[in-house]
Symmetry: C2
Subunit: 479 residues, 2 copies
């Protein structure tokens, strides 16, 4: 068996492999702050690309960014009863506003206790709701389409980098509408916007659907989700869009005067994707040599690696590499010339593990032939080919093809690992044989004690009712 | 006296005027969360322009972005003694991680108390320090240039929007170096980077200098600052750069192996600017009609306002406005066509109060002459002129001139309102006559009881020792 850069392999221990891919690519690490992660520069650069691209999309849809406080007074949080119940058990609570020194040791100043404790936002429907009750007055103010990019806090008992941490980064859209229909339509539009974004940027195929009542967001009429599959057949809830109906409008008194002069409650929705997308992407695409990044989300789409031999004119090689870099920059390609003090073969492995989409190797041959040798990260040696410097912009086509190929591969994986059955007994048979994937079955089959048993034994959950067939439910393990 | 859009005027009550400019421009509001602000879309768009432009600058200087947790364990915070002392009195403290319902009322779950309380970051030297102690190993890892864009928490007893709030937005750079000289040089380089950024983007003239020992950052060897003047002669500390020496390297054990194989402590610095910049800009430039935005920081550099008369072909006018808008977009100018359902004269006042740099008015005359009428916000009617559609790209020159003019005006204000005196008695005389501005005097003059009296009576503080003359100190009131 060939040696792999990441051990254990996916086959041997998928969870350990996931952690090791992240650390070998230097994306992030567990923080000494319990349950939190530190996102390192290479990982943060991926998040910046997600932000930049998604931000442009929502702005083109008329959404405006703003920023609300992180601390939410308990009394606000409490106004929507289901909402507070859903988040109470994972809330970080601020109770004091000052420290004091006692014998050189710093401690909480008990005399500085807040009269009302604050919760660190686990989501911000409450503060947006309160503001909208003042900002929305007339039908002319609607729709009001707001968003914020923020850090979010949910106390996680079993933290896992990018997927579940006590603090994470996200965007949260909060919108108000005049009618029920508009509000629902927009919630669904955001779901399809997420689906397309996941495809075009992260090369993720996803199932879109509605959460069953048991899995709904605390305080929503409908929760829509897009679920993506890991290579071990588990599901990641990669983003959600909630139709909140009039729950928050009534709790926070968001009213508007209609064209006919009548006072009406507004309808609201909210929608979010988070740094979890990075985790979902890793478990979908990466291999036993480490990270595989779709070009659209890669901090460097190409990395140039010079191969220096002892008898070579190093200056000429470096100058040639710089020239190649310039051509690629001019073609609008994100490129790094890795001119660091490291052996070329080590550089190759470094950038394999970091998932750079295309490696560009340049040595004596390439220099003499005015060419470069390119290798696709996802296909490896088999994809190696020489390209003349004159045709260097062809690399854009290779990147585009690669983006599509990674998506198609993930789509095939997902479809091939989705089995449709008719009864809960059939589902049980599959799971007993250690089936790795999603199981589709009639929703009503899961409204039974047999399902509860299955859920308990195999740790599966209902993921969603696919939009095109709401009689059916997808069940799977959660990554 | 001419009617002004903002009352009271600057002359009548500068503080009230400041609040009213912010609310008339719809930039931000006081949040119901104590001491916090909500940044509304128009204000947040200004922050996004600051972020985008400053982020590009630091990236070009080799700085990499990353993201650290918001919650800092007390034990970390405590490692640098001066540091914790400096921030202890304004720390928000997290003590619990769960809520519970008692008789339908939500309350803190006392059984879920943290064994070690967390502080919401008032700054992140401690977490960066801990990470650098692991990330820095060899001289090859240095310099390590990191930055994060984040929310920051400092419990403020006298909050004021943008200038002092319990939560605000900022960037914090944290860098480690091999030598003392490099570290100091870089801290100073960041100071001049800030000075230039403030000039080019916010059109702010600033005094750059070193804070006196009394005003230094908690745990720094040197704190450098750039101070900008408000129109009522007060000073805003608009950003700081700290040379931390080896304080944090020693507290957190940031060591590296030198080229000679010796183990050495690193040297660190940190530097930050925040959403306070928006406040500093407002008090520097705006007038009694509201906000004045330098073009470089304006969400819309131009706003097109159609003037419709009852007998007009509305469609033709709208089409013409769209055409003008397209031309400006093609010239790379941020433009809004205000086609809302509002009277033209109301739109004019709206965009005066919102500080749009150039108003473009289009009515029957302009339509028939293939022209537009432009007005600069800072100069008003006197600057009105007609421009032919063919020469529309000239607007870029007008914007550039305007950016320079606003800066020069602020520079003149600052220089004209700076008085140099030789003794503390002379300073007292000025202050007794209600002098509004900065006073320069020999630093040693302020090392006396007389200075302490002055400080108490007139609420002045030492702002900085100008870099070019460290024997001198600038004293002023703080905005």
């Amino acid at each position: 068996m060939a040696k792999t850069a990441i051990t254990p392999t996916r086959e041997q221990d998928f969870s350990a492999w996931y952690q090791n891919v992240i650390s070998a690519a230097d994306l992030a690490e567990n923080s000494p702050v319990r349950g939190c992660m530190t996102i390192k520069p290479y990982g943060y650069a991926i998040w910046e690309l997600i932000q930049k691209q998604f931000d442009a999309i929502i702005k083109s849809m008329g959404v405006q960014n703003c920023y609300f406080p992180t601390m939410i007074p308990l009394s606000f949080f409490q106004k929507e009863a289901e909402h507070v119940e859903g988040f109470a058990k994972e809330s970080a609570v601020i109770t004091h506003y000052r420290l004091k020194a006692v014998d050189g040791k710093i401690t909480v100043d008990e005399t500085a206790e807040l009269t009302e404790p604050y919760v660190l936002r686990p989501t911000s429907e409450t503060l947006f709701g309160e503001a909208m009750s003042r900002w929305v007055n007339s039908y002319r103010d609607l729709p009001m389409l707001l968003n914020q990019w923020a850090n979010i806090f949910r106390w996680e008992m079993r933290p896992r980098i990018f997927l579940r941490t006590a603090e994470f980064l996200w965007q949260e859209g909060h919108c108000a509408f005049a009618t029920k229909e508009e509000c629902l339509k927009h919630a669904l539009k955001m779901l399809s916007t997420y689906e397309n974004f996941a495809k075009d940027t992260l090369a993720l195929f996803s199932y879109t659907g509605e959460k069953t009542p048991e899995e709904r967001f605390a305080g929503a009429d409908n929760t829509y989700t897009f679920e993506t599959m890991s290579q071990d057949g588990k599901s990641s809830q990669s983003g959600t869009s909630h139709n909140l109906g009039q729950h928050f409008a009534k709790s926070f008194n968001i009213k508007y005067q209609s064209e006919e002069g009548k006072e009406e409650f507004a309808w609201t929705n909210s929608w979010g994707v988070s740094s979890r997308l990075i985790g979902a992407m890793i478990v979908a695409h990466s291999d036993d040599d480490g990270l595989i990044l779709p070009p659209a989300i890669a901090p460097y789409e190409c990395v140039i690696i010079p191969f220096i031999k002892s008898d070579m004119d190093t200056k000429a090689l470096t100058a040639y590499c710089e020239k190649v870099k310039e051509s690629l920059l001019n073609a609008g390609i994100r490129v790094l010339f890795d001119n660091s003090d490291m052996r070329s073969s080590d550089k190759v492995w470094k950038w394999i593990k970091k998932g750079a989409p295309i490696r560009i190797e340049i040595g004596a041959n390439e220099l003499s032939q005015d060419s470069v040798t390119i290798t696709r990260r996802d296909l490896g040696k088999a994809s190696q080919k020489q390209i003349n410097l004159k045709s260097i912009s062809e690399i854009r086509d290779v990147l585009n093809t690669m983006q599509k190929d990674i998506y198609e591969k993930h789509k095939s994986l997902t479809l091939d690992s989705t089995k449709t059955v008719k009864t809960i007994e059939e589902a049980k048979e599959l799971l007993a044989k250690d089936f790795k994937g999603f199981i589709k079955l009639p929703y009503k089959e899961t409204l039974s004690e047999k399902y509860d048993e299955l859920k308990e034994t195999y740790k599966i959950t209902r993921r969603c009712l696919p939009l095109e067939d709401k009689e059916t439910v997808i069940i799977a393990k959660s990554f």
